[in-house]
């Protein structure tokens, strides 16, 4: 069985000789198919950079990185992953439905299939009636749901999410977390989730990778052994609090060791 993502000694250095910035150093980890993994760390630790390396939006300067057993570039050209950013990045001149169809257009799907797939995805994120609206008519949370629908429209095996709920208020955030978990259960993609919220990481993931400040390294891997079915009650679970504390302490250790 191929790893969804495998990293061996991955490093990333930005800039020229005089102004080199080492964003990532010696990153080693493996992700299995179907995992929900969070990358958590302080600001500037390189977690977003690491996500971009996985997505071939940037390239490592050292080490080996494979995605679905291929090079990240090959995986990108094969459209193995979908990505969701902190800002919804919807095209404001297209309707919601047409926004979801965007990747399908580029990937050469037929008109009828595009339309039905887009409808299906919007239903999945509970925005079925909003297909003909324009982005400006939707709230931040709704726009993000459209972005997620768009990312999953072509059924990729991996979903990359870069602090997708960072711009939302706490209550919307918790609702969206619930929805993402439901989607994950239905669709079964591997999810790589970047966040700086400890409760969010613990609530969503099967595993949490803790990163140190720049240059970012993986300092800890914490298995989240909460039950598979997670909901509001989970947030008040004793084990949940223990794990949150464990992650918090791991983060602090990562910072002190610097």
């Amino acid at each position: 069985m191929t790893w969804a993502v495998e990293a061996k000694g991955v490093g990333k250095v930005f800039g020229g000789q005089a102004e080199a910035v080492e964003a990532l150093r010696d990153i080693d980890f493996t992700l299995s198919q179907g995992d929900f993994v969070s990358l958590i760390g302080p600001s500037g630790c390189g977690k977003s950079t690491l996500l971009r390396l996985i997505g071939d939006l940037s390239a490592p300067t050292s080490g080996e990185l494979t995605v679905n057993g291929k090079s990240p570039e090959r995986a990108r050209l094969d459209r193995d992953y979908g990505i969701v950013f902190q800002s919804a990045t919807l095209l404001d001149w297209r309707t919601v439905k047409k926004n979801v169809e965007l990747p399908l257009e580029i990937m050469g799907f037929e008109t009828a299939e595009r339309s039905s797939t887009a409808d299906e995805m919007l239903e999945l994120v509970q925005l079925g009636e909003f297909g003909d609206h324009y982005p400006w008519q939707l709230s931040g949370g709704m726009q993000q749901r459209v972005a997620i629908a768009r990312a999953l429209a072509f059924k990729p095996s991996i979903l990359l999410m870069d602090e997708p709920f960072g711009a939302l208020d706490e209550m919307t955030r918790e609702l969206m977390q619930q929805e993402v978990l439901q989607l994950w259960a239905e669709v079964g993609t591997t999810v790589v989730f970047v966040t700086h919220s400890i409760p969010e990481a613990v609530f969503l993931s099967t595993r949490v990778l803790v990163m140190s400040p720049r240059p970012g390294r993986i300092t800890d891997e914490i298995n989240i052994d909460l039950s598979a079915k997670r909901d509001e009650e989970t947030r008040e679970d004793a084990r949940y609090y223990e794990l949150v504390t464990e992650v918090r302490e791991a983060l602090r250790r990562g910072e002190w060791n610097d």
Partner: protein, 287 residues
């Protein structure tokens, strides 16, 4: 200093617009006649003499439009509206050429930063070269290849119009957020797909802003282009002619300038309407 403005229906806005125009016209007439009255009474002559030859009464100016242009001929109004259409035709053709060239250069510069660095200084520099000097040469060249004179004038109009379009196309094509570009890359899109699906639609508001400026510039370009050629039938030659007739019939010149002004406003208004239809409707944020 932003204040929340209440939403207005289109009808209310049109009515309000109409009222503003009326108020402005009345205000202008009052200022004009007021100046004449006060300056005549006080016998001042600076900055402009208030006599009827230098400053005809506003009603005489309007009246001139409803006099025959020549003995037993059609009304001046009709003659000048036809001249305006003649000039507008040249302006519109120049506008189209300038817009297409400007857009093309914008796309080229975004695709190839080398060509931007090579040619942008000259694009900017081209605007310092007074078009009026190019005009006679354009007409000669056009004549050599049997091009109708009015097309040569259009080329002059195009010269004035392409610059704002290049600048704004460039800005607009670069306006999408970086995450939009990353998104397109994640789909393994081709450069053309990125250009036409993301960059060009994002550039439309910017391009239309430039088109409004270009529309006005193309009218000036057309008028000026008509001058050296002595091209009859357009506003340019009539402007020269009425300027010479100033001593005998000053109100004709003023009337013509009024028509020319309205022609410019009409063209820009048309482009604004197009903008409203093609750009605003989808993206409009609630005001």
């Amino acid at each position: 200093m932003s204040q929340e403005a209440p939403k207005r229906t289109t009808r209310q806005k049109a009515a309000r617009g109409g009222l503003s125009i009326l108020t402005l016209v009345v205000a202008f007439v009052l200022l004009w006649e007021g100046y004449k009255f006060i300056w005549t009474a006080l016998e001042w002559t600076w900055p402009v003499r208030p006599d009827n030859r230098t400053m005809p009464h506003t009603w005489d100016i309007i009246g001139a439009l409803f006099q025959p242009a020549q003995r037993n001929g059609p009304l001046l109004l009709w003659v000048e509206l036809k001249a305006a259409l003649f000039t507008l035709r040249e302006a519109f053709l120049g506008f189209l050429i300038g817009a297409v060239v400007g857009f093309g250069l914008g796309v080229l510069f975004v695709r190839s930063s080398t060509s931007e660095r090579a040619f942008m200084p000259y694009v900017v520099g081209s605007q310092t070269v007074p078009i009026i000097a190019i005009a006679p040469m354009v007409v000669v060249w056009g004549g050599r290849i049997s091009l109708p004179q009015w097309i040569s004038v259009s080329i002059i109009a195009a010269y004035l119009t392409f610059f704002p379009v290049v600048i704004n196309t460039l800005r607009g094509l670069r306006s999408p957020e970086p995450t939009s570009m990353e998104l397109m890359r994640s789909y393994a899109s081709s450069r053309n797909e990125v250009l036409w699906k993301v960059q060009v639609p994002a550039a439309m508001p910017y391009i239309f802003t430039a088109l409004k400026v270009s529309a006005a510039a193309s009218v000036i370009g057309a008028i000026v282009g008509e001058l050296p050629a002595g091209l009859r039938g357009g506003l340019g030659s009539d402007l020269l002619q009425f300027a010479q007739q100033f001593t005998s019939a000053p109100q004709k010149l003023f009337a013509l300038v009024l028509i020319a002004g309205l022609a410019g406003i009409a063209f820009v208004g048309l482009v604004t309407y197009a903008e409203h239809r093609f750009v605003d409707a989808r993206r409009r944020q609630p005001t």
